[in-house]
Assembly symmetry: C2
Homo-oligomer: 218 residues x 2
């Protein structure tokens, strides 16, 4: 049984290892969790002891198979709760993440099974992220960042890679949502910003940072 803190470390490390593919550094973990490297060293020793991570001094950590399974269950709970908050309790997509950070640590297999059933087995959460099933299996839709799309193309928003309220409220403001159509009008070489039209309506300039966090498909 993992503690809240252990689950939070595991989740962060799992996400980092997915992004990079390589072993995860102490500092990278400290940065994403807003803790100090010394605290991370302590915790990764504890998690290695539990067989969740494999770890060699000064060489970073890797998530074990057992760790991967555990991480996916926490992610499953996080995303199911986010879906519940939006679908049933009428939360906006920018209001759910912090509450889900708490709810994801509730321990009750029955609760999660019933919640999943109540939501009719959703496959994606309000941010377009896939929800793993009880066995940790999930399917991501093929998708690329808007930043990599050529001028002239029309694409559909599939997911957002940042679930901070600031980013999501900005997307609300420019009329972007999961399923919205985005037409690429122009690319500015200088700073990588783009001119796009959303749902055949508003035409806006979006920064490189924004275009990297909106993922789309044809």
């Amino acid at each position: 049984m993992l503690s809240f803190a252990e689950e939070n470390y595991l989740k962060a490390i799992y996400h980092l290892s997915e992004q990079t593919g390589e072993s995860v550094s102490t500092n990278a973990i400290a940065d994403t969790l807003n803790t100090k490297a010394a605290s991370v060293t302590d915790m990764i020793k504890r998690l290695s002891g539990k067989g969740i991570l494999s770890y060699q001094k000064y060489k970073g950590v890797q998530v074990s198979e057992k760790g991967r399974k555990a991480a996916l269950q926490v992610i499953r709970k996080h995303r199911l709760w986010e879906t519940f908050l939006v679908e049933k309790l009428k939360f906006n997509w920018d209001e759910v993440h912090d509450v889900a950070e708490q709810l994801e640590h509730i321990k009750s297999p029955l609760l999660i099974r019933r919640l999943d059933e109540f939501l009719a087995y959703p496959k994606y959460d309000p941010h377009g992220d896939p929800i793993p099933d009880e066995n940790g299996e999930y399917k991501s839709k093929p998708q690329v960042p808007v930043s990599s799309c050529d001028v002239g193309r029309s694409v559909i928003v599939v997911s957002v890679q940042d679930d901070s309220p600031e980013f999501l409220q900005y997307l609300d403001k420019i009329g972007t949502y999961i399923g919205a159509k985005i037409r690429i009008l122009d690319k500015v070489g200088f700073d990588g910003s783009m001119e796009v039209q959303i749902d055949n309506k508003k035409t806006v300039f979006i920064s490189r940072e924004v275009s990297e966090n909106i993922w789309v498909t044809d």
Copy 2:
């Protein structure tokens, strides 16, 4: 902001003070929480420091107005979650308490407001206990324990005073539920047990302990 442990102590102390009316002893708290008296002394010092309890050495504690308000909010959350689990996720009434013990500590005023709305502002939880509103107000139905009812009377079950799975499963077995009709057939002076008929069907003997934990109205 109270920690999980602080909220659990507060809730236990509040319930004890409601039962007895008087100031609550260190040992009574230790007993209900399955901790040691020394741990309780530590915690009640901390809670006094926060203005939640008033405390004089060797004289027990009392819950302050601030403490009462906080306790009722935790109780509100506990009972709303129990109601959610039964009404929406099809939990049986004996399965909800332990999960609600976890869920009651989630911090999000919006979540609780929306949950209350989603459940259509329920007044009573699955065990017949009243659910305080946002201001801590609630109305209990007039009720007495079956043990105090005279032979020959017919009464309706309003609440149960014990929410352990063991007790609730026993009630399921003898066909008793909130709203069930109980007719008092006989009282045994020797051990205080009673013979009762439930919903004009099953006739059973219930122990004094059971009859004290089923509360009823005419």
